[in-house]
Subunit: 316 residues, 2 copies
């Protein structure tokens, strides 16, 4: 079955190593992170948000960012390793570590930004100028991420004009990619359409990446809405690593295997092998020591066959 409904190819950015492991109470040892990264590479993952150059005191889970990147030196061919950079100090460390892309982020919501990084949105944006200067000296591209781009757990709605203004600021600083983060799972298909359409008009030179959370169960519907608009870059976390800080028991990041499954079934090539990705997800679960919310890892790929004597309850 062929279709022109969706893009032929899409890039999947694996953020579990950063966004997922950062949310775990225990620090995952470097050797285990490496094993997980290699399992993901083996599945065909080529784009990683691999860590964060934040204060090791503030986020001990990611204190080994430079060591992790260094340890992957032999596998760098064809990989894009990006890392979060909160400020100029982080940018210097990230440049020294040799990241391929620096990622800066700011919340579209003033209250969320204050809560998250303890400064105003304007101060965050001002600080990015120095980050971009340092990155530029090293020839390293900078990607800009907008958190709470579809709504804020404190203030509620986030106007699209606000998101567009920040994107223009990113563009003016020379950033190359724009990520819309659905930090607490407030995105909807109509908001995806509204925001992607507005941003394409305002900053057509910036490719858009979408990062959904499954907090309200509709992350995959939002991915499909993005695909229908021709978006071809999505962020997700293996197994759905990373919870939701506001809703105990609710899921956080969209799960990479569920998303790759959806993409493949929509005829969108990602270069990723689902069976191997499921193996990586199982390793991720063992790495953090608890069950992960992804579904495809539990059920198997679509054409998984069962014996006729399998347990079976009535029709549905």
């Amino acid at each position: 079955m062929t279709t022109t409904l969706y893009p032929a190819h899409a890039t999947v950015v694996e953020v579990g190593m950063r966004d997922g492991l950062q949310s775990e109470p225990d620090v995952v040892p470097l050797a285990n992170k490496l094993a997980l990264a290699r399992s993901l590479i083996n599945a065909g993952i080529r784009h990683f948000e691999i860590s964060s150059f934040v204060s090791p005191r503030a986020v001990p889970q990611l204190a080994d960012a430079a060591e992790l990147i260094s340890a992957l030196a032999d596998e760098r061919q064809g990989l894009e390793l990006s890392a979060l950079v909160p400020n100029s100090r982080g940018a210097i460390r990230a440049a020294e570590a040799g990241v391929d892309t620096m990622v800066v982020f700011v919340s579209a919501s003033e209250s969320h930004n204050q809560k998250n990084v303890n400064r105003s949105v304007a101060d965050s944006l001002a600080g990015f100028r120095e980050v971009c200067r340092i990155a530029g000296e090293h020839g390293t591209p900078v990607a800009g991420a907008i958190a709470t781009a579809f709504g804020c757990p404190f203030q509620g709605e986030v106007p699209v004009a606000r998101v567009v203004d920040i994107a223009r600021g990113f563009r003016d600083l020379g950033m190359t990619v724009l990520t819309l983060g659905d930090t607490t799972g407030m995105a909807t298909p109509l908001l995806v359409r509204e925001r992607v359409t507005a941003l394409r008009e305002a900053v057509p030179e910036m490719p858009i990446s979408l990062h959904f959370h499954n907090t309200r169960g509709i992350a995959m519907a939002n991915v499909l809405a993005g695909l229908a608009l021709g978006v071809d870059r999505f962020e997700s976390a293996i197994g759905g690593l990373g919870g939701c800080p506001f809703a105990p028991g609710a899921t956080g990041n969209a799960a990479t295997e569920d998303m790759v499954y959806l993409l493949a079934e929509c005829g969108v090539d990602t270069g990723i092998d689902l069976e191997r990705l499921i193996q990586a997800s199982r390793l991720a679960g063992r790495t953090v020591g608890h069950e992960l919310p992804a579904q495809v890892s539990k059920a198997g790929p679509r054409l998984t066959r069962h014996a006729m004597d399998a347990v079976c309850t009535a029709a549905g």
Copy 2:
């Protein structure tokens, strides 16, 4: 924000009382079923697959079908109570109980039908003639459901032509609604498009209802794909009641609250109050005594506000 992308209204058929409770190991007492039904009615649910007139020995969980319908007599105004009817004996009992609609079902997959009801697809279809005759005598409409309409856990792919043939058989017997059941979570947006398009051409007089399972995490993407085609009738189970017989730990039925949330956010009116629906879901969880997979019940509606001193981890 207005849109003509999706239908203005949609009908939600709650199947948790049948498809969900049937999967529970313990029999839920009639009084508890009644309380759950009333909580769902209070939330605005008007269409129920309320029970099944199968053998009480085979499915003791639903042995009280007639009593349950009788106990809801005072609340019948404006409700549609449908029930599964496997054979003419069930049809007689269903007619006596006064169901609004009889539902017959057959698997599109020969192996699944054999496993599920121990007869061939042809024998199932032949048996429906008598069911339709009995229903006709009582002026009761019959809806036809096709299980494994998007794939079979035993045989794999199910040809669209097979689904179309069964639908034509249903039409020829005078059935009024056609439900496509994604029994083990094998539906995809492209298969939804293919099958809905083919069925509209083959049996344009039959409205199509879609019943997805979230076994592989993409039920809501499939709902969105259905909406984009103009489908306006969907089946789901409160809380996501009912597991998946083939994948321990995987989810089964699409959760009503997650689906109603998606529909509402897509501008599709269902007449259902999400806050009250979440209350009904919590009652469903207490009724069966375990956690249910629905997400919106854990996270709350989209604009749920949190205090600034709520626990908050870093941006995503």
